[in-house]
Symmetry: C2
Subunit: 487 residues, 2 copies
């Protein structure tokens, strides 16, 4: 289904309405659309053509938002890169995605972009902001079937894979979200999480569709978020548990401002204590279970329950279906825990250029999340456990296999296992259990230093336990759950 | 794009929430879904298969609503028939649509259905309610590209044509409407117009998508509408100008209840005096310009302007585009009147089995409405005139060509022209100018009686003027605007 470019449609509808506030400036939808057109022409002038990918290594801000909306104007799909990755990790994703060019921010990000593309001399690096180029025919329409963005996520193998998300996926995510949380004339979102994350990206697409303005913080600062909420303009904010906790810490006993009608809390299971604390202060916390592969929200607590006790993440978005599956893939009855399967219009098309991984993840038309959950008779989902091997630390996903593969490269390491240990602030702390070679030695500090530059800082184990052997089954499979803090 | 059957998705999401109130009963989404499943199985048992059409000659009520949602469960598209048509008119539409079967209401409607199908002996007539049949595999998904309904509308030729509207058209109409008028937790629609009309049908699809309950009145009763509004449950109501006027008459000076947040006023240009009167009493009137061929709303006044003076119908729904075209089809600048063209995801696929009419109506990808309008610099549409030959009388469209063709069949009529004359209550009064044969005689009463049974009552001229000749151009083209009340 073809339709008008979203930001163009929105700018025609409410041109003077505020679209974006960041860095102390506010841009109307007309101004943002003009900026997006300029960026799109600049991309075209550098050879971007329909079907191309455009990678972005950009901080939260106007240029990033303009690029999100520039991409469809020249028929390109966006590849938003995580700024916390190392040059080596970025190089892998860039080689994998093979974008037409890489748009990057200044200073540190320019150096990072250079380091990441050292082994990719043919990849053009373009500093942001993109010069406003005049002329050039832009597209007027997009197709819901086209890819809007390729968002990288890791799998059990530790190999990052690009989830190809269509405009239809973001549209139905925005629609389902609006039907779930309702949309009201005074709505105003605060985006203080990285826009590279699917949850941040979704806010921007949603804004173009519904017309609600977005305030974007360049980086997460709990005091600034707290002050922003107290100003009474923001009505909805997306956070992960760690962020909410730090905002509450910054506020002390100050209750939630009455203007705030929804705190959308995603990024992994939220601690009960945090939910109680926030709700006691009047914060309407709508917990959500989301996935990159489903353009963010899958199930979200309805607003009439956001102030009530409970740890369910609520019901699926309109047109999204959930199934709890047993070990053989059979649908389990209510109250029986199993793997969470997801089906519906928000699902990715697949992993970029990985037909086998895609077919496996989407077998039978259902996304197999690997997460463990349970549905109750009322249709509410509770997430019991993110996929057994996934560590959610401060809202970032860490895949043990990737960390283990990195540590195995160290000459002193014979065997290694990585798992999350409970952490009151970050949800989970990345922890490694290491078996050293008989003739070798290595300290925790040395292994940490070895990881630095190879994997992003948030993936580096915070604690190393040196053990003689790892708990394994007879067939050699690691018993990750048998890893204990002090073995 | 495939997605779960809407009512099933909604019933899974908010099963206990009220979906429909009518005839003193309230049905939850779970109960309505169960009823729709029963009706779908009954259709299947009578041979309805994917791709079939199912015609409905039903009064407003539960059975009609259940049938709307039953159709996609067996892959059929609905053909809602106007209850005010004559058997002859219905027979034409049934022969044209060639549905698998005709579901009809009791008593008068059963007799009308029988009369309409006399010349179609092979067409099965099925009385409503459809018996609940168990067993039978129902569809779980629909495609946005599939036809949801075929809604008949007439053209300049007077020949009714079935506008094929896909689920995507109704989905984007509901989405655009929700983004335009916002959707809130306490929303509750009142449908007091015929559900056969695209504006009535759209309310029901919208309800399944957003979860807002609908109260359906079996027939329009101004006092009952007024009482319903005063009860404070209804927040949105769809009406045409005549209906609004009669409701205001019934209320006298009683101001609008505070619970009412939107009166969606469609069905032809609204008199300024009516807008002033309603708004003075506090009614938030959002005028809308809609078309059967665009699944109802095309442009709608935003709610923040619904209490302000002005006769603009506002801006297009999200993703709908408007163009004002000159005589050669060229786009005209702002403030210049011309033909209203419409493009976007709510457009019909075409007229059923009329590729030439469809190609002409949708040439260049734009729906050519024939209506005259003007866009101002802010993007607001004002409708200056419905297509010159269209008479909008009490919210029903009357096409002069059809009435003229009927009167020409009378042996005493030599020439005839039909046009609308201003009417304070109905907007326009159908009026005929008749030239009798030299040797013949016929009274106004006789011609009116001749029309009865041939065309619907609302199409029959309320006044006949007998003239010696009609105003025509040298080439013989009728100068409809030169017709005067007392020639």
């Amino acid at each position: 289904m073809r339709q008008r470019i979203w930001l163009e449609s929105r700018a025609a509808l409410t041109p003077a309405a505020p679209a974006l506030s960041c860095n102390g400036e506010t841009w109307s939808f007309a101004a943002l659309a003009a900026r997006a057109r300029g960026a799109a022409r600049a991309l075209q002038a550098r050879g971007v053509r329909p079907g191309d990918l455009v990678a972005a290594l950009l901080p939260n801000g106007l240029d990033f938002v303009a690029l999100i909306h520039a991409a469809p104007l020249c028929g390109a799909a966006l590849v938003p890169l995580n700024l916390r990755l190392t040059a080596r990790e970025l190089a892998f994703q860039l080689r994998d995605a093979a974008p037409r060019l890489l748009v990057h921010g200044p200073a540190e990000l320019a150096r990072l972009a250079q380091a990441a593309t050292e082994s990719l001399p043919e990849l053009m690096r373009v500093p942001s902001p993109l010069a406003d180029v005049t002329g050039g025919e832009l597209r007027a329409e997009l197709s819901l079937e086209e890819t809007a963005a390729v968002v990288y996520t890791s799998g059990t193998t530790g190999l990052p894979k690009g989830a190809e998300l269509g405009f239809g996926a973001f549209a139905w995510s925005a629609i389902g979200s609006a039907f779930h949380l309702s949309n009201a004339p005074g709505d105003h979102w605060l985006a203080c999480l990285p826009l590279q994350h699917v949850g941040g990206l979704a806010i921007l697409y949603r804004s173009a569709l519904t017309g609600a303005p977005v305030t974007v913080h360049e980086r997460f600062d709990p005091q600034r978020v707290s002050d922003e909420l107290d100003q009474g303009r923001v009505t909805l904010v997306s956070v992960v548990a760690t962020m909410l906790e730090r905002v509450l810490d910054a506020r002390g006993a100050r209750p939630a401002p009455p203007s705030l009608r929804c705190v959308l809390l995603g990024g992994g299971p939220a601690p009960q204590s945090l939910l109680r604390r926030a709700r006691a202060l009047g914060f309407p916390v709508a917990t959500t279970y989301g996935l990159t592969e489903a353009a963010s929200q899958v199930a979200t607590l309805s607003l009439d329950r956001a102030r009530l006790p409970g740890d369910a993440v609520g019901r699926p978005l309109f047109c999204t279906e959930l199934r709890i599956a047993g070990p053989d893939g059979q649908a389990l009855p209510v109250e029986q825990p199993g793997e969470i399967l997801v089906r519906g219009p928000t699902l990715m098309k697949g992993y970029l250029r990985r037909p086998e991984d895609s077919a496996r993840a989407l077998r039978g038309g259902w996304l197999h999340t690997g997460d463990i959950g349970v549905l109750d008779a009322a249709g509410d989902l509770r997430v019991l456990d993110r996929r057994s091997d996934l560590i959610v630390s401060g809202g970032e996903n860490v895949y043990p296999a990737e960390v283990e593969a990195t540590l195995r490269e160290h000459p002193a390491v014979s065997d290694v296992a990585v798992a999350g240990q409970p952490d009151p602030s970050f949800g989970a702390r990345v922890t490694a259990w290491v078996v050293l070679r008989a003739d070798a030695e290595a300290s925790a500090g040395e292994l940490g230093t070895f990881c630095r530059g190879r994997i992003a800082g948030y993936k580096i184990p915070r604690a190393f336990h040196f053990v003689r052997a790892l708990p394994r089954t007879e067939s050699g499979k690691l018993l990750r759950r048998a890893l204990t803090p002090a073995p």
